[in-house]
């Protein structure tokens, strides 16, 4: 399981209602459906992923998140997930608002652009960073809104969003005392558990 997914599954209550925005091939929901007996649905736009979801019995709706979540009732889910997708949205701040309208809790993970490797790429090479978690060249990347841990903290503050937990991990899924001390510098993936203030 992807390192960020292993951490966030701990925050999902058994039997709860889960909406996964950009659910990919449905592997996280497959796991949550069987391990936590959640009732779940995912949104996805990739045809191949949608078929994989269907084949594994994951409820999946073909829907572009950039068009909002207007078709979902307020408070109709316990947790709304947004994993490694925030940076590809046209209006991330609007979707965060929508997430916390539709669900009581939100879980957001994204590649931390403030990581030292990214900073080094820019500072020394003068090139846009390319890494395992940001594998695309600048001209072909679907990731149009990169942010850092500090940026996301600031957005939560401005948007009246309460951060319940903030964790960062590196590519080997390891957290350390140093990463806790300097999350924005050492963390490669940022993981947030959020709710309304």
């Amino acid at each position: 399981m992807r390192p960020d997914l292993e951490i966030i599954q701990q925050w999902i209550e058994p039997g709860s209602r889960v909406l996964d925005l950009g659910c990919g091939d449905g592997s996280l929901l497959t796991y949550l459906n069987s391990a936590k007996k959640v009732s779940s649905v995912g949104l996805e736009i990739d045809a191949g992923n949608i078929e994989k979801c269907i084949a594994s019995g994951v409820n999946v709706i073909e829907q572009n998140m950039d068009q909002g979540l207007g078709n979902f009732q307020s408070n109709s889910f316990d947790t709304v997930l947004l994993t490694q997708t925030l940076q590809a949205l046209s209006k991330p701040h609007d979707l965060l608002d929508e997430m916390l309208r539709v669900g009581q809790y939100g879980i957001v993970t994204f590649p931390n652009f403030g990581n030292w490797k990214s900073r080094l790429d820019l500072a020394l090479k003068g090139r846009m960073p390319v890494s395992k978690f940001m594998p695309h060249q600048w001209y072909e990347t679907p990731n149009i809104h990169f942010c850092t841990v500090k940026d996301f903290d600031a957005l939560c503050h401005e948007s009246q969003i309460k951060i319940l937990t903030r964790t960062v991990v590196d590519s080997r899924h390891q957290g350390s005392w140093a990463m806790k001390a300097w999350p924005n510098f050492l963390g490669e993936i940022a993981i947030y558990h959020i709710t309304r203030k």
């Binding site: 009732s39 649905v41 045809a47 949608i50 078929e51 979801c53 269907i54 084949a55 594994s56 019995g57 994951v58 409820n59 999946v60 709706i61 073909e62 829907q63 078709n71 979902f72 009732q73 109709s76």
Partner: protein, 399 residues
């Protein structure tokens, strides 16, 4: 290669007529005292009778959904590419039942059959039947076949509406609902097109108030026009451009001729058929008028117009769907303008609102509403994956 030799065909099939002595109380208040249903089945019912799939047909469909009736048949059943061993609706896994709905003209009780009370052909006296009535008769058929739960009820267009009615009115009798290219109810535009069709039939001089069979004739021109209009609504603009834009007529040399292929290579400067699309529509209309009953066409379009499960729930469709307990697969096609993707999304959103389990696919396809009858890979693969999963559930439940 003849159809029957294909290894993925269900082969030669024979329809069965099933008679029901019981009364069927109809939505209109009338009662059918006894009726027949023509059915075909493919595949084998398993021991615990849990692997049955019901196929609901659309406006002009019938019980002959797959295979051939004889080796000399030119064409297989209407959904043959979808039903068969190894196909999306896999007859190696499922027992598939297809029927001709009441009011039809392919052998089930309808305007062309004998009214047992008078001994004469029903004609226009066959009562107006609704989707609700059809599903009621399908439930009676399920009982007769000893099928307590359908593994899935599947249908496109008007067939998809029967699927929705099943899920709402008989939730305990199906595990999966597959609703393709349908709508929660018809729009004014949909009804308008149906009314043009009915108007042209009813005003054909050979209609004889519906008693045309007794007069040894039929409203050919009316039925033709009805089908021509209908056919236009089944195709998309792009599908017609593609179909009639081959530019092989000589005059139009550009490939981008907007589907304006000429029939004979030159304009007639009269009111004759100049363009291929015109002769195609004439051909489709003519062929249909020779094979379909006008009173049945009127009944089918009325069933479409009347379909609205929300009426029992103060107009709240999600309230109606609240009754359902099955899982849903909803599929729409990008260029379908008869029941466009927005209509399927209404179904999906109301299912979500009702807290139901649903998957939704919006398939990119040029063919318009007709796409639901065509072998479009993404659509067929998803349907196959969904039903394969449904079969896995059957096996898991049994162990």
């Amino acid at each position: 290669m003849p159809e029957e030799l294909k290894t993925d065909s269900v082969g030669i099939v024979s329809p069965k007529c099933i008679h029901f002595d019981e009364d069927l109380a109809l939505r209109s208040g009338k009662t059918l005292s006894g009726f027949d249903l023509m059915i075909e089945t493919y595949g084998e019912l398993n021991q615990d009778r849990s692997n049955a799939i019901l196929i609901c047909h659309a406006l002009s469909g019938d019980h002959h959904a797959a295979g051939l009736h004889s080796e000399s048949d030119a064409k297989p059943g209407w959904w043959d590419h979808c039903i068969g061993p190894g196909k999306a609706i896999d007859t190696k896994l499922f027992f598939v039942v297809a029927l001709n709905n009441l009011g039809g003209c392919a052998g089930s009780s309808g305007p062309t059959s004998l009214n047992p009370e008078t001994g004469k052909i029903y004609g226009p006296d066959f009562p107006v039947v609704t989707v609700r009535d059809w599903v009621k008769s399908q439930v009676m058929l399920s009982d007769r076949l000893g099928i307590e739960h359908w593994a899935a009820v599947v249908g496109g267009s008007l067939g998809g509406m029967q699927v929705l009615r099943w899920a709402i009115s008989y939730p305990e009798r199906l595990r999966h609902a597959v609703c393709i290219a349908a709508a929660p109810k018809l729009s004014a535009q949909n009804i308008a097109f149906n009314e043009v069709a009915r108007h042209s039939i009813i005003n054909d001089p050979n209609f004889h108030d519906g008693h045309y069979l007794e007069a040894n004739t039929y409203p050919k021109l009316g039925l033709m026009l009805a089908r021509m209009v209908g056919h236009i609504t089944y195709l998309s603009d792009s599908a017609m451009r593609e179909k009639f834009g081959r530019a092989d007529s000589g005059i139009e040399s550009s490939t981008a001729n907007f589907g304006r292929d000429l029939r004979s290579g030159k304009l007639s400067f009269g009111f004759n058929v100049d363009f291929q699309v015109e002769s195609y529509l004439h051909y489709q209309g003519e062929r249909f008028s020779e094979n379909f009953d006008a009173n049945t066409y009127l009944l089918m379009t009325k069933a479409l117009d009347y379909f609205d499960p929300s009426v029992d729930f103060d107009g709240d469709f999600s309230g109606a769907l609240q009754q359902a307990t099955c899982k849903f697969l909803v599929i729409s096609f990008s260029t379908d303008w008869r029941f466009p993707p927005e209509r399927s999304r209404e179904i999906v959103n109301d299912l979500l609102k009702a807290g139901k389990e649903v998957s939704y696919l919006e398939v990119e396809a040029d063919q318009g509403h007709d796409a639901f009858l065509l072998p479009i890979p993404r659509y067929i693969n998803a349907l196959k994956a969904y039903l394969k999963r449904a079969h896995t559930e059957i096996v898991e439940r049994a162990t």
